[in-house]
Amino acid sequence: MGSTNSTLSKIPNVEELMQETGFTPAHIVRLYDRFEALDKEKTGHLRPQDFGAINRLAMNPIGDRIIGAFFSPGQETVDFHSFVRILAHFRPADKKRPKDPSMPEPVNSRTSKLKFAFQLYDQDKDGKISRAELLQVLRSMLEMQVTEEQLESIADRTIQEADLDKDDAISFEEFRKSLEKVNIDHKMSIRFLR
C-alpha cells in the first residue's frame, strides 16, 4: 500500500468521484484499501463471490439482495467507482447544504435513500412492489420460521396498510408516505467517521 497521496493518484478521475459522492479524500483512500482487500485476486473488479466472503454479510438474511444492489442488471463485476457511488447513497445528509432546487438532488438525500430501499423490494424495477415481491423479501427474512399462510397474511396486511390507490401493489409514493415519519437519515446511514 502506497502513501495516501500516491493511493489517490492511482485512482482515475478521483476529483470527479469526490465531487459526485461527497466523500473526503480520507474516505476515498480507506474505501480503496477496503476494495483492494476484498478484491483478493487483484482483478480491479469485485464479483459477487468477493462479497460473499464477508462472514457477517453471509449471515445476513437479505445478504444476497444487498450484494445484488451493487451490480447493475446484466453486469457481473463492479469497479471501484461504482462501489463508491453506491455507498455514497448512505452517507448521512449534509446538513449545511442549502436547498437549491436548480442543483440535482444529492446522492445521499432522503429521497435517494428511500429509492434505494424501494429497489430492495422492487426487484423487477417496474416501480411497484407487488405482493409477490413483498413475499419474497419476507421469505428471506423469515424462511423456515413461519408457514406460507402466515407469510401471506403478513404480506396482505402490509399491502392493505400502505396501498392507498388500491392497486394491490405499493408504488414509490405510497412507500414514501408510509415511511414519512421514520428518520431515514438516521437509520439508513453509514456514519463515516471524519
Partner: protein, 455 residues
C-alpha cells in the same frame, strides 16, 4: 604492569556486578512493596504516557518525513475504524424503526422499515470489517514494528531501525529479566503463603490472610507484566456466593481480575508446576479443580459448582463461558452450562487496549510458554475492566437465552461485537445456521410470543 591491569579489570567487574545487584533489588523492592499493599506509585501510568508519546512521535515523524509533498491534505487517523456502528440489539433497532407507527403494535407485525435494519448491517459489514485503524496503513506498519514483539522485521528506514533496535534491547534485556524475576517471586510467594495459611484452623483470620496472600501475589504478577488496569463501576464487584462471568482473551485475564478481588478458580487439575500451585491454593481457600474424567460428566460438574455457590461464605466463582480465548474484538457464544448453576451472575467485561500489541492467545499458533514470553517482552498491557450490575435468570427464560442476555450486556459495555458463533467453531465456516439464527430472532419479533410453526 599487566598484573595491575588485570587486577583493575577484576575490581571494575565486581563493582559493576555489585551495582547491578543493588540496582536490581532496589527496582524489585520499589515494585514489589507497593504492590503488596495495593498502593501504586503512579509510575506505570506515567511510563505508559511517555511511552506512547515517544513511539507516536517516532512513527509519525519518520513516516511523514518521507511523504511526497502534495496539494491534497493528509488524512487524519481514524481511531475506531471507518464507521460508527449503532450498538443496539436487533430488537432495539427495529423498535426504533417502528416507532413511527400510529396504531399500537402488538409484537406480531411486520413493517416495511424492518428490512432497513438488515440492509444497513449488511452495508456496514461491506465497508468495514476491522475494528482498529489508528494510523494510515504504512504508519501502522511502523507502529507495529515498534510496539509488537513478534513482528517480522521490514526495513523501512535507518532511523526506524535504530529505534526498533533500541526498543528490542530495552525490552529483552532490561524489562524481561525484571519481569521474570517478579513473576517467579509472585508465584513462589503464592505457594509458600497459601501453604502457611493452610495450617491455620478455619476461621475468619484464615480467610482474611488467604485473601491477602492471593491479592499480593496477583499484584506482583500484574506488575510483572507492566499491566495498567482501570476498574470501572466497582460498586458492582462480585459478592460471595455468586458467579463471576467474563469474556476470555488470554490466560492473563485471571491475573487481571484477581488484582481487585478474590475469586474461586474453576478448572482442570494439571500436573507439574501448575499442579503444585493448584494444590497449595486449595489449602488456604476452596477452589474448584476437576479431574479430567470428571469434566466429561456435566451433571457432576454442575452439582459441584452448585454446592460451592450454595455455601454463601465461599468466594465467587470465576468462569469464562466462551470456553476458549477469543481475539479481543468480539464476544462469542456463551456456553450455557455456567448459567444452569443458579445463583447471581456478576458479568464483567474485559477489554485490552490494542495499541501495545495483541493480548489474544491464539492457542493454535502459540503454546502457553511462547505466549507468556511474548507478553513479558512487550512494552505494556493496558486493560479496562467494567463490572456490570448483577443479573439473575428471569421467569420462563431458559439457560441459553439467559446466557445470550449476559453476553450482550458484556459485549455492549466493552465495545465488543456481539457475535453469534460458537468459539469452538472459529475455524469452521458454518454460515447457514447463523443466518437461521438471525431469522429466528426476527421472526419472534414479527410473530409475537407464539411459538414459530415448523415449516
Amino acid at each position: 604492569m599487566t598484573d595491575l591491569c588485570e587486577g583493575g579489570m577484576e575490581d571494575l567487574w565486581s563493582i559493576a556486578v555489585v551495582l547491578l545487584q543493588v540496582w536490581f533489588s532496589v527496582m524489585i523492592g520499589f515494585i514489589m512493596i507497593p504492590a503488596m499493599f495495593g498502593l501504586s506509585l503512579g509510575v506505570t501510568s506515567v511510563y505508559i504516557q511517555i511511552l506512547v508519546k515517544i513511539l507516536e512521535w517516532a512513527t509519525l515523524r519518520i513516516e511523514r518525513g518521507h511523504r511526497e509533498r502534495s496539494t491534497l491534505p493528509v488524512p487524519a487517523p481514524l481511531p475506531f475504524g471507518l464507521i460508527q456502528r449503532e450498538g443496539g440489539s436487533m430488537e432495539q433497532e427495529m423498535g426504533e424503526l417502528r416507532r413511527y407507527r400510529t396504531q399500537s403494535i402488538s409484537r406480531g407485525e411486520f413493517a416495511l422499515s424492518d428490512s432497513f435494519y438488515f440492509y444497513i448491517k449488511g452495508l456496514e459489514s461491506i465497508v468495514d470489517d476491522q475494528v482498529t485503524q489508528r494510523f494510515s496503513s504504512e504508519e501502522l506498519v511502523s507502529w507495529n514494528l515498534l510496539t509488537r514483539t513478534n513482528h517480522n522485521f521490514h526495513y523501512i528506514s535507518l532511523r526506524l531501525t535504530i529505534i526498533w533496535g533500541l526498543g528490542v534491547i530495552i525490552r529483552y534485556c532490561v524489562l524481561f529479566p525484571l519481569r521474570i524475576t517478579l513473576a517467579i517471586i509472585g508465584l513462589t510467594w503464592l505457594v509458600i503463603g497459601t501453604t502457611l495459611v493452610g495450617f491455620l484452623p478455619n476461621n475468619r483470620l484464615k480467610n482474611w490472610l488467604s485473601e491477602l496472600v492471593h491479592l499480593m501475589c496477583y499484584r506482583i504478577c500484574a506488575r510483572g507484566l507492566s499491566a495498567t488496569i482501570q476498574y470501572h463501576n466497582k460498586e458492582n464487584k462480585p459478592q460471595k456466593g455468586g458467579i463471576c462471568v467474563a469474556n476470555h482473551t488470554s490466560p492473563i485475564d485471571i491475573v487481571i481480575l484477581a488484582n481487585d478481588g478474590c475469586y474461586a478458580m474453576v478448572g482442570q487439575s494439571h500436573g507439574g508446576l501448575m499442579g503444585v500451585i493448584q494444590r497449595s491454593m486449595v489449602r488456604s481457600c476452596p477452589h474448584v479443580w476437576f479431574e479430567r474424567s470428571e469434566m466429561r460428566d456435566r451433571n457432576a460438574v454442575t452439582s459441584r459448582l452448585r454446592a460451592h455457590v450454595a455455601a454463601k461464605t465461599n468466594l465467587p466463582i470465576l468462569i469464562f463461558p466462551e470456553g476458549t480465548c477469543i481475539n479481543n474484538t468480539s464476544v462469542m457464544m456463551f456456553k450455557k452450562g455456567s448459567f444452569e448453576i443458579g445463583g447471581t451472575i456478576y458479568p464483567v467485561a474485559i477489554k485490552y487496549d490494542p495499541r501495545f500489541g495483541d493480548a489474544f492467545w491464539n492457542s493454535a499458533k502459540y503454546n502457553m510458554v511462547n505466549y507468556l514470553l511474548r507478553m513479558m517482552t512487550s512494552w505494556a498491557i493496558v486493560v479496562n475492566v467494567w463490572y456490570l450490575p448483577p443479573m439473575t435468570r428471569r421467569e420462563g427464560e431458559d439457560a441459553a437465552q439467559f446466557a445470550n442476555r449476559v453476553k450482550s450486556a458484556i459485549a455492549h459495555q466493552g465495545g465488543l461485537l456481539d457475535m453469534a458463533w460458537d468459539g469452538s467453531l472459529k475455524r469452521a465456516k458454518v454460515k447457514e445456521e447463523f443466518k437461521e439464527q438471525q431469522q429466528k430472532m426476527y421472526s419472534s419479533m414479527v410473530m409475537g410470543k407464539k411459538a414459530p410453526a415448523n415449516a
